[in-house]
């Protein structure tokens, strides 16, 4: 069994950081992407063997630089986790009160960013699939992608688009051997959730470490069932 090579966007906080730790603990080779240089360097120092990459997936100009660094850091790519995400306006707002720019940023981060990064890394992923290592794109979804919640307009609409895009990628690239998973980790005790629901009782929320274990299990299962 080959050591999986995994890239995670939004890897310095919340679920992304928990995934970096969990996948590293399981022996994967891990690269992670985030916007803030100091945070990226700190997390990379704290987790020897991981590769930190500074970049903003919402910026078109950053995408190929990020892809280049992922591929050189890992020597290829088996698993891409599209985790980074934007809530849209904070505090949350009714759609009628949402500024167009805030909606646009949610779409750039939650839809166009994952689209561009997946596209830029598709060559690496299909190369991995051809060599029988398996290739997976895991998209972190949300129940807001399915249910219409008041005040979650920018986030919910962009997450719905992301989920649907992932499903279409999956249809189109099944023959190339790339599998697309869209998974909802549930409501977690993360900085993103605290921004959205500042008064939530942490005891009622899932720990990101628990969600990371479940997602890592899903990745392992998908890699194992990959036809050689």
């Amino acid at each position: 069994m080959n050591t999986p090579r995994v890239a995670i966007t939004g890897g310095t906080s919340g679920l992304g950081l928990a995934l970096v730790r969990e996948l590293r603990r399981r022996g994967s080779r891990v690269a992670f992407v985030a916007r803030t240089r100091e945070r990226v360097e700190q997390i990379a120092r704290d987790h020897p063997g991981t590769h930190g990459i500074v970049g903003d997936i919402a910026r078109k100009d950053d995408i190929h630089r990020i892809a280049l660094q992922i591929s050189t850091a890992l020597g290829g790519l088996d698993v891409l986790v599209n985790n980074a995400s934007s809530l849209g306006p904070t505090p949350l707002a009714l759609l009628a009160d949402t500024e167009c720019e805030d909606f646009a940023l949610a779409l750039e981060t939650n839809v166009l960013g994952p689209f561009r990064l997946t596209k830029a890394l598709l060559g690496a992923l299909t190369a991995s699939a051809r060599e029988g290592r398996g290739a997976i794109v895991l998209t972190i979804s949300s129940d807001a992608a399915i249910n219409a919640y008041a005040q979650w307009g920018a986030y919910g609409a962009s997450k719905a688009a992301l989920r649907h895009m992932s499903a279409i990628w999956g249809e189109e690239l099944a023959a190339e051997g790339v599998r697309f998973l869209s998974l909802d980790p549930g409501d977690m005790d993360t900085p993103l959730h605290a921004l959205a629901v500042p008064n939530a009782d942490p005891a009622t929320l899932k720990r990101p470490e628990t969600a990371a274990r479940e997602l890592a299990d899903a990745i392992s299962a998908a890699l194992v069932t990959e036809p050689a």
Binding site: H64, R65, L68, Q69, A73, A120, T126, E176
Partner: protein
């Protein structure tokens, strides 16, 4: 031919000139490429992504502005940070390389600042402008610096500055090429689907395509520099199976021909150090998809392995007469070889024609063709 000045990888009206095994010439739309392939054939492309290999900076001993073009490496390993590089004086791609001023005199040990990176001249490689270059710092930092500061190598006939997405083929994977393996611009995912439905297989190799032109006659005479490559086990198996069933091997680009001829189609890593020319035995390769190349380009020599000079002269005349577009964003040629293809059992022997007596894979690729 007309220079293709716009960096559009797949213009809707791209054309394809087909040269058959017996030298017959056909004009077609490149969108119909799959029609020239048969069930059982195997198409092999170079999946190297392209580095932003042009780095502007300062030669610290002289404080002179320079441009460094990374041009070669002895392996594909990400932690191998020793490059051969061609150095230019002040100016950028808008000026023809032939007209570029030379760099200041360079010496071993000279320090060069390239944006966030610092490199040291590790030696001269038999020419004033060709150096061995070693970057300071750990691999992640160096690649981040190249990603941030580098720009794709490009030439004066283009009408705009290239971004990385302009030069990555749709299948671009490991970033190791110094210039784009541009024959692969013709590939898109719909084409790969079309191959599948036709019963044509697809495979990849990775070869660090080097610099194609320096503007300096003495240096250009040494091109192509040695290029490290890898043939995946799966690809080697597909080649054997295709040969066994009588399928043809169609190489996408001169880089794939070079890797397949050097390796004989066997799996593994190597450094392609032989030029392909009229006397090369192609044995693994039956056809090549490439750009349109004029007789004064080094790539043209590769065509001479596929067909006799009189056939190539007729093809060249046809490209000129019909105003085909040339250079990396131009039209394409599909050329079938007049050589007899080797059966599967002979793949590992006698490939490539003349072989160097003592292959030298020491660290500086640029020295080997000298």
């Amino acid at each position: 031919m007309i220079a293709a000045a716009r960096p559009i990888q797949r213009p809707f009206d791209a054309r394809l000139l087909v040269i058959s095994r017996n030298g017959a010439i056909t004009h077609a739309a490149r969108s119909g490429l799959a029609d020239f392939l048969q069930p059982g054939d195997l198409v092999i492309a170079n999946d190297a992504a392209t580095l932003p290999a042009s780095l502007h900076g300062v030669h610290l001993p002289s404080a002179a502005q320079i441009e460094v073009r990374l041009a070669g490496r002895s392996s594909l390993a990400p932690d191998d940070l020793r490059f051969s590089a061609v150095v230019f004086g002040a100016g950028d791609w808008h000026m023809r390389t032939e007209d570029r001023p030379p760099p200041p005199p360079l010496a071993r040990g000279d320090r060069i600042a390239l944006g966030p990176l610092v490199a040291t001249v590790d030696g001269l490689l038999g020419h004033q402008r060709l150096v061995a270059l070693k970057f300071d710092g750990p691999p992640d930092t160096v690649w981040a610096g190249i990603a941030e500061h580098g720009r794709p190598i490009q030439y004066a006939y283009l009408d705009r500055t290239l971004a990385l997405w302009d030069v990555w083929t749709p299948i671009a994977a490991l970033p190791v090429a110094f210039e784009a393996p541009s024959a692969g611009f013709a590939l898109d995912w719909r084409f790969l689907d079309a191959l599948r439905s036709r019963g044509v297989e697809f495979a990849t190799i990775t070869l660090a395509a080097g610099i194609s032109s320096t503007g300096d006659p003495a240096l250009d005479a040494r091109l192509p520099f040695d290029e490290p490559y890898r043939i995946p086990v799966k690809t080697a198996a597909q080649i054997r199976r295709a040969k066994t069933r009588g399928g043809r091997i169609v190489a996408v680009g001169t880089t794939v021909v070079r890797a397949l001829v050097h390796s004989g189609g066997r799996a593994g890593e190597g450094v392609a150090d032989r030029r392909i020319g009229a006397d090369t035995r192609l044995c693994v390769v039956d056809a090549m998809l490439s750009g349109t190349h004029a007789p004064d380009e080094s790539h043209y020599q590769v065509l001479r392995a596929f067909q006799r000079d009189d056939v190539l002269a007729r093809a060249e005349a046809a490209l000129e007469a019909s105003n085909y577009r040339t250079h990396e964003f131009g039209d394409s040629v599909l050329i079938f070889s007049h050589q007899d293809s080797a059966p599967a059992g002979e793949l590992s022997r006698n490939c490539g024609g003349p072989v160097r007596a003592t292959p030298d894979v020491s660290y500086v690729p640029g020295t080997l063709n000298a």
